[in-house]
Amino acid sequence: MNMRMTQVFTLAEELAGRRDPGLRRGIAQGAIEAVLGAVPYVCLYLVLADVFRGEISWTRTAVVTAAMFAALALQIVIGVRSMINIMTSSYGLFGSTRLRLAEHIRHLPMGWFTHARSGALADVMTRRLDLLSEIWSHFIAYFAGGVAIPLCVGAFLMFVDWRLGLVTMATLPLAFGLLRSALALLQRLTRGLLPVIDDANHAVVEYIRGIQVLRVYGRFETGLSRLLHALARLRQGSIRIEVGPAPLIGSYGFTIDAGFAVLLYAGVWLWTTGDLEPQTLLLFVVVSIKFFNPLFDLGVSMLLLRFGDQALRRTQDVFETPPLPEPAEGQQPTRFDIELDGVDFTYEPEAPPALVDVTARLPECSLTAIVGPSGSGKSTLAHLVARLWDVGGGAIRLGGVDVRDMTTHELHRHVSMVFQDVVLFAGSVRDNILVGNPDAPHEDVVRVAKAAQAHAFIEALPEGYDTVLTEGGQTLSGGERQRISIARALLKDAPVVLLDEATASIDPAGEVEIQRAIDALVKERTVVVIAHRLRTIQRAHQILVLDEGRLVERGSHDELVDHDGLYARLWREQQRSQGWRRSPEPAPDPTPDPTPDLMPPSVPSSLPTIA
């Protein structure tokens, strides 16, 4: 992508998706201030001309000094305004860009958020935008000056003597040609360097992540040699990108500087042929200092803004990713059964389908479990219900309404999800529970916390509900985090609850509390649960068994065990894995045998649901 000059000025506004008059004022003020900087040079010429004519007058000195003083004072006043306007507006615009990005990605399908993409997006939203705002806000004024001064000074010189004026600009085409080549080369080298930087980053991440294992296996040197290779390539590439464009950039600078000599040669020729006053030549010599210097700054600014190019492009890529379509007028469900109607789904165009023709009815207030081997599409199915993606074929209906015909807002009002991977945000415990319903009064927060078995440990925190959680609540145990997330879902009070591995063993020691919290959450709701541990879903009204994206079995626990298919096989394996042996067993137990061997001999009474 080639950034044009006008684009440079409107970049921040384009990204933010709004205009800012303050910014435009700031840029205009910057240009005026820069042009005022040429006044001393004109004054300088006037004084020099007087000096050499030997006619220095006090009045003239006073006028010139006053003019320079006025120019300086104006420059300071306007410059201060310009700097404040530009800084404030541009950081405001880049702040809006962050929020706009955040808002936009919220509407993208979850499938978009691969691990790599999320990492790149975090990079765009932090480092790259920071970099762009820093470069841009600092250099846009120089850039404005770099355009305005040569234009005004050039016009002034053309006005004084058009022939010399043209000569002054004679080297510009060559200089700009060189600058273009430098920019192109830099861009090419940068593009070549990016994968090298990525590789080096990747090697560093992998080295740090793997160092423990590498050392334990005594293979530290293997890891190090991979890393050194990547680092050496980074060194080489970095040096090349600095050294490569240097001749072109130097030539650009030299061509600008040489313009001064060309001016002199032409001036002397005109002067000796008697066609030019020597004073005029002197005027050109003095004032053109102010013509040539900003041109160099302009080139430098162009090169600098080029660094923003990557950030710009990546940001625009995000904005151009289409969001999930929203209906103009959302329909509202009045009941909360779920209908899966021939659901197909594929993650990537080329990839094998994740779900194939899944059809099932989940009555209101029923408990449906989805089970299957890993990779069978369990989570995908639950995510489709919450419309984190859209189905590839078929439809999912909530209370008879296609989820795509509801606004996302409406749909999410009715559906709660509790994930195995709990996300707590920076903020107080209360804030984290209030996510479920920002307007809830304190009594409700306490009520749901109690129901989620979280009240007691929250009260024991230093500031109770006002304790601020940092680092995603890492100071809490996994079970405590899970119970806060359940309290959050309780507060939301949605009629449909999706549990994605929420009962898996995150914090085995605190499992009993999590189980009680989930009991409170699921009561009298339409529940869809994904579970690995089949024990925990024996009471489900129906169990959907998925295998490679297909619904292969359906029924209650007892029916499925009797059916002796995939479910029965999974069930037996799990029963078997409860006991651990010093030697492997030759074959799985032929029958599910929840024998007392599972339990300590003295507590046989705690087996009712298994027995």
Binding site: P40, T88, Q574
Partner: protein
């Protein structure tokens, strides 16, 4: 400005990137920076000299204008002389850019060489610190040190140093020279400099630190908010939070805007004043009246006046760059301190070369250990006999994992001793000892590379047959052979994706290949899915044969048959025995069992009349406690 403005920014955007340091202590790092310079004294020295020469030659056009003015306005102007000056100007411009180019190249080659050396030094340091170092220190901080902190130094070595030297020495030399020519005119020419410097000092010292801290905080807040937002995007979507009502991000953005607003208002006046006072042409304001007055009094000749008018207006601008340099220096120093603090980490003593245990019974003798100030283990004593399975149980936070990780010396004990075959583990050859221990942990590290590469990590010279046998034993062979390219299938972000249970079995295959006499298992089945769990357990059972095993498991059923079970409570050993013995006598063990059994009995139920809690599904903790 000159080329150095460009080179100030370097080609790596990281140079300008905002601070991210959380652990660095600011200050006191200049000496460290110059230590780095001394590792490449010749090339960096030459780069500085060339940079100064370039700046000196860069003053030539100004002097030429003076010569031309004198010539043009003299009574008998000589055109040839002007042409000669023009040619000199071309030569000077050429020389200036050549010198600068040479300086740039030298400085960058040296700088990237130093960066490379530093990164290698950090990487090597990571091989020497205790393994526990990586658990304590967030890998993010290490990554930052190796990437951004080191990268930031490029700005200093390749740009600030050569440019700074030139930006300082050339104007100072010019000012001295001009004072020699005529001190009165020099005084007039540079009268504004102290004010400009004062304005800069006002900006960069008084509130610099506070302002810098605020900027740092605002940037960090933004970063945290963005990461939180992305990490929690599924929650944000399902709870219908929009970007604006997601308060943290909005607040962070507002914080940054407020900061910049305030910063711009406070710093714009001094900044602009300094900028204008130092920029070319402004000092003509003082030179003109003073010069005219001195001419009038007859104590100044015309040539000197013109010289001052032209030359003194051009020599100050390099000072402007010094201000820019200072702004970034603070940032960079913090990064340098961060790097230094890693390099200064004490290394783990490596023990006697070749001292390898011949027997593998492990004994904890009065072991106490804590992280920083937080004690974790108190006087732990027990024995894990050779060839037997010893299980460690206890509530979460009781110190099980810490205890297990003392064996492969992730940390060394604070007091007491850990003995292997009767020898203190600290006096063993570290690498030799690590070769005798296999670890199977919950989180499995697979690096990007083929399946085979990942397995060979355990034994570099393993034959295909050995690998195949290990995979069969680890119950993972069928999964691997079903992959598109079998053992040559690439793993990692861009490669094939394995489930948690499959990864776990791969790590068990590694342990088979390593065939070490001591085996440490920590929660090895915790995240496995239903199918994997049984297979992992079969594989582990085979792996454990004839080995000294220390196993940690929350699923107590899996360690029922352990030869001995060590019960930990709050970092203390409360009992040691077999399952049958402990279930009879240890209340702690009974408590663990009953909680475990109750969680097993639970099943999800959403009907209205279902029991409020699993209590009714079975006796409560107190009821079912055996007598």
């Amino acid at each position: 400005m000159s080329e150095s403005v460009l080179s100030h920014q370097g080609i790596e955007p990281e140079v300008l990137a905002p601070p991210e340091s959380e652990t660095a202590q600011p200050g006191g790092g200049m000496a460290g920076l110059f230590r780095l310079v001394r590792t490449r004294p010749w090339s960096l020295g030459a780069a500085c000299v060339l940079s100064v020469l370039s700046a000196v030659v860069g003053l030539a056009p100004t002097l030429l204008v003076f010569g031309i003015a004198a010539e043009v306005l003299s009574n008998s102007p000589d055109a040839d002389q002007v042409v000669f000056y023009a040619s000199l100007g071309v030569a000077a411009a050429l020389l200036k850019h050549l010198l600068f180019g040479a300086s740039t190249i030298l400085a960058h080659v040296a700088a990237y060489g130093i960066l490379y050396d530093l990164r290698v030094a950090i990487a090597r340091k990571m091989a020497e610190v205790p393994l526990g170092f990586f658990s304590r220190r967030q890998t993010g901080a290490l990554h930052k040190a190796m990437n951004e902190d080191v990268q930031g130094l490029e700005a200093f070595l390749a740009h600030m140093l050569p440019d700074g030297v030139a930006a300082f020495t050339v104007p100072v030399a010019a000012i001295v020279l001009m004072f020699v020519v005529d001190w009165r005119m020099a005084l007039a020419a540079f009268v504004a400099v102290p004010f400009a410097l004062l304005a800069q000092v006002a900006m960069f010292s008084r509130e610099a630190r506070e302002s810098y801290t605020r900027y740092h905080e605002a940037t960090e807040a933004n970063k945290r908010a963005v990461h939180d937002y992305l990490r929690g995007i599924h929650v944000i979507k399902t709870f219908g939070l929009d970007a604006r009502s997601f308060g943290e991000l909005r607040r962070a953005v507002q914080k940054m805007t407020d900061y910049v607003d305030d910063y711009a208002r406070r710093s714009a006046p001094p900044f602009i004043v300094a900028l204008k006072l130092l920029s070319g042409g402004t000092n003509a304001l003082f030179i003109v009246p003073v010069g005219v007055w001195l001419l009038h009094t007859g104590t100044l000749d015309l040539a000197t006046f013109v010289f001052f008018l032209l030359v003194s207006t051009q020599v100050l601008s390099p000072f402007l760059r010094i201000a820019n340099v200072m702004g970034n220096l603070q940032l960079l120093l913090e990064g340098a301190d961060n790097v230094q603090s890693i390099l200064d980490e004490p290394s783990l003593p490596r023990g006697k070369r070749g001292a390898i245990p011949t027997q593998h019974g492990i004994r904890f003798a009065n072991v106490s250990f804590g992280y920083d100030d937080k004690p974790v283990l108190h006087n732990v004593s027990f024995e894990a006999p050779a060839g037997k399975v010893t299980a460690i149980v206890g509530a979460s936070g009781s110190g099980k994992t810490t205890l297990a990780r003392l064996v492969p010396r992730f940390w060394d004990v604070d007091s007491g001793a850990l003995e292997v075959g009767g020898v203190d583990v600290r006096s063993l050859d570290l690498d030799g000892w690590l070769r005798q221990v296999a670890l199977v942990f919950q989180d499995v590290f697979l690096f990007s590379g083929s399946v085979r590469d990942n397995l060979r990590l355990a034994r570099a010279d393993a034959t295909d047959e050995q690998i195949d046998r290990a995979c069969r034993a680890a119950r993972i062979r069928d999964v691997i052979t079903a992959l598109p390219e079998g053992y040559d299938t690439l793993l990692g972000e861009r490669g094939a994706r394995l489930s948690g249970g499959e990864k776990q079995r791969l790590s068990i295959a590694r342990a088979f290949l390593k065939d070490a006499p001591v085996l440490i298992l920590d929660e090895a089945t915790a995240f496995a899915d239903a199918q994997s769990e049984a297979m992992i357990q079969d594989a582990l059972a085979e792996l454990c044969k004839d080995k000294t095993v220390i196993v940690i498991a929350h699923k107590l059923s899996t360690i029922r048959n352990a030869d001995r079970i060590v019960v930990l409570d709050d970092g203390r050993v409360v009992d040691v025995g077999t399952h049958d013995a402990l279930i009879e006598r240890s209340t702690t063990y009974q408590g663990l069992w009953s909680a475990y059994s109750r969680s097993l009995g639970w099943s999800l139920d959403n009907t209205a009349n279902s029991a409020p809690s699993p209590r009714s599904n079975g006796p409560t903790a107190t009821e079912d406690r055996p007598r």
